[in-house]
Symmetry: D3
Subunit: 151 residues, 6 copies
């Protein structure tokens, strides 16, 4: 675990927020993967399996919400740059008492895409939450983090 560096890159010397200048950085292939978990009752997972596999719309809605949100990361996270994503994928693994969500974003740009991957995981998770909230009042979205960053 590295010790925190003493500066916040998004603040200038006076403490004001700014979009960091990336104009001098090279265009480079970059990727990031983030994961998260939506904890829920086992019966909800059973229902999701029963409904989701034949009909598709619950998982499909969450996947598309994650992809669409990733493309708008620069509108949602104030100091993020607008990056042209080369691809985004969002996958779901159903476990006994939770759905594990994994998103990977790729770009060829001057800065990385970890925020895009995190936004995809989070909005996919909240979309699942929205679609299952009538049947499960115990859901918690957690363990949202970046697991891989490549350039």
């Amino acid at each position: 675990m590295s010790a925190p560096d003493p500066t916040f890159s998004h603040l200038d010397a006076t403490g004001a927020a700014r979009m960091v200048n990336v104009g001098h950085k090279p265009l480079q292939a970059r990727a990031a993967t983030a994961v998260g978990e939506l904890g829920c009752q086992p019966a909800t997972i059973e229902l999701l399996r029963a409904r989701a596999l034949p009909k598709g719309d619950v998982i499909a809605a969450a996947r598309l919400a994650g992809i669409l949100a990733a493309k708008r990361t620069d509108e949602l996270i104030p100091l993020c740059h607008s990056l042209p994503l080369d691809s985004v994928s969002v996958d779901f693994e159903l476990r006994v008492d939770r759905v594990v969500i994994t998103a990977t974003a790729r770009t060829t740009a001057r800065t990385g895409v970890e925020m895009e991957a995190l936004v995809a995981v989070t909005l996919a998770g909240l979309t699942l939450y929205d679609m299952m909230k009538a049947v499960d009042k115990t859901m918690v979205l957690g363990a949202v983090r970046v697991t891989e960053k490549i350039k």
Copy 2:
């Protein structure tokens, strides 16, 4: 803990997703509160205290990102209704190793605002993540859940 009901309200009888018809429900004052936590290193919290309290921009950016995202919940969560929010507030509590984020949304509408509160917490948390990621590679967003729903 209630047993899940056997239906997903956002799916019709054929399993297709739809926006549930709320036209017959009354306009009613409604509120929801959600919370979440951004876990980080104690040194990051120290830095946040040192930077945030005098200068304001880190916490202020996260707060505004949460408020702005709450107003766009219907664009982010595919089956959510567009609700005119009466108010949104987002608060932050700095603990030793995490930031606790609390958001409350209020409306006078035909359906509730828990998704708006969850979206506010989540985007506020991811904005903090974005601003602090240069100094802390260990952050995890978690425990995102609804704590109160009133109508």
Copy 3:
């Protein structure tokens, strides 16, 4: 077939575009249904049946794109009012050589939702087009029209 009335309601006396004032109209339950057709090769329909029914993502993506676009009609059609939709549904019927798309929007508002229904049909159709264009270069979106308007 009624003879056209001599005025365009969105133009003022000088010919300038404006959003028509609806402030004096009552809040009223309103609905509109629109349909359209995406013509394609029979083999594409076969492929869609084979892929869509078990896995769902093609049709589900088109449905969600239609629902999401309907909620943003006021951003897409310059002189449309922002209406809080009570519900939107988008359905698909697979015929031999085309997909028939039907969308119904409902609101309780001062003006109608036919543009919302048309936007839903159109964006659902274009999303199908996008997902199937690698396998079929002959697709045509047509017969997009309002079939019912209720208040």
Copy 4:
């Protein structure tokens, strides 16, 4: 007429939707042209000629709506990439009983712009529909298709 290829490029091996990875493709000048027709009563065309030519706002509104929508294609079509458009133009030809709409989009990017051209035609057509719907209840948007794709 080519036989459909057996794969939908936007689905992975499990049938899940994804944004196709275009990171390995070269940046290349690309263009696409789409057309469509808004069928209407001859009297509506007469009115459009009388109003549109001297005052401009009806056709101008449709043109701008098409251009603005083309720039947001990635928000409207879930699996489209965000492409920086080099130019967009939308033209209108008034015939006896319909308006023929033609849009051309150009980019220097890793993938094509046919969806951008289709979105421009479609939203331009729906904006005309919106502005003329008070005088003509018989309009139909059709024959929307790609007529040229260059790279």
Copy 5:
């Protein structure tokens, strides 16, 4: 000139920004008018007259940009409420050395629409600036203010 009141309504007791709660206020017809001026060279005005009156697209583009932006005021001004506008109009008066822009917004809502009127004036002015900047490097947007507020 009234003396400033000692509180900023958008800040809570701790100085944090929030969307003010308007849930207890009545739904009420409200209107606001704002004006602004785009100063430019007399020759630019001559060109605008020559081009704009027969063809319409310059003024029409500015008008539509103002109307569209007014509908998105809540996305642009962080603490503004989302209001359903009953109407928006934007007018232009060509004087010797400037364009005077006037916008009026109307709503039936719990809070006023002066920000919507200001956003319409400003974006209409900047759109004119964009379209005329190739021919005039001296333009200045100024005197943007609210001239009337009614409820």
Copy 6:
């Protein structure tokens, strides 16, 4: 003061609006700076100093609104290209009776970013207006202009 050139670049030979084709221009580092002033009562400036310096949220909200709007310039100004901004900064200087707002945008693109800088200044100014309007009815946004353009 240069004499206006006889053409509006955003209009084609028939007077129709279009997005100018920039595909043949080189990718180039470009920057633009714009300024503007929000005139207000001296007591408002005093209040802003008292509130803003320790707590930050008023100025921070205006700064973020400016940065966020700059990233969406292509959605707000109809004929602007979508440019990937390398950086945006917005600064505020408190004078006796006004706030001077300065924004600088940078990109590596085929066309310039003066509209992005102007949009940032303007929305930052209107956000200040919104937050201070309860205490000062005399505010005027003016002197909005481009002060530097580099490539």
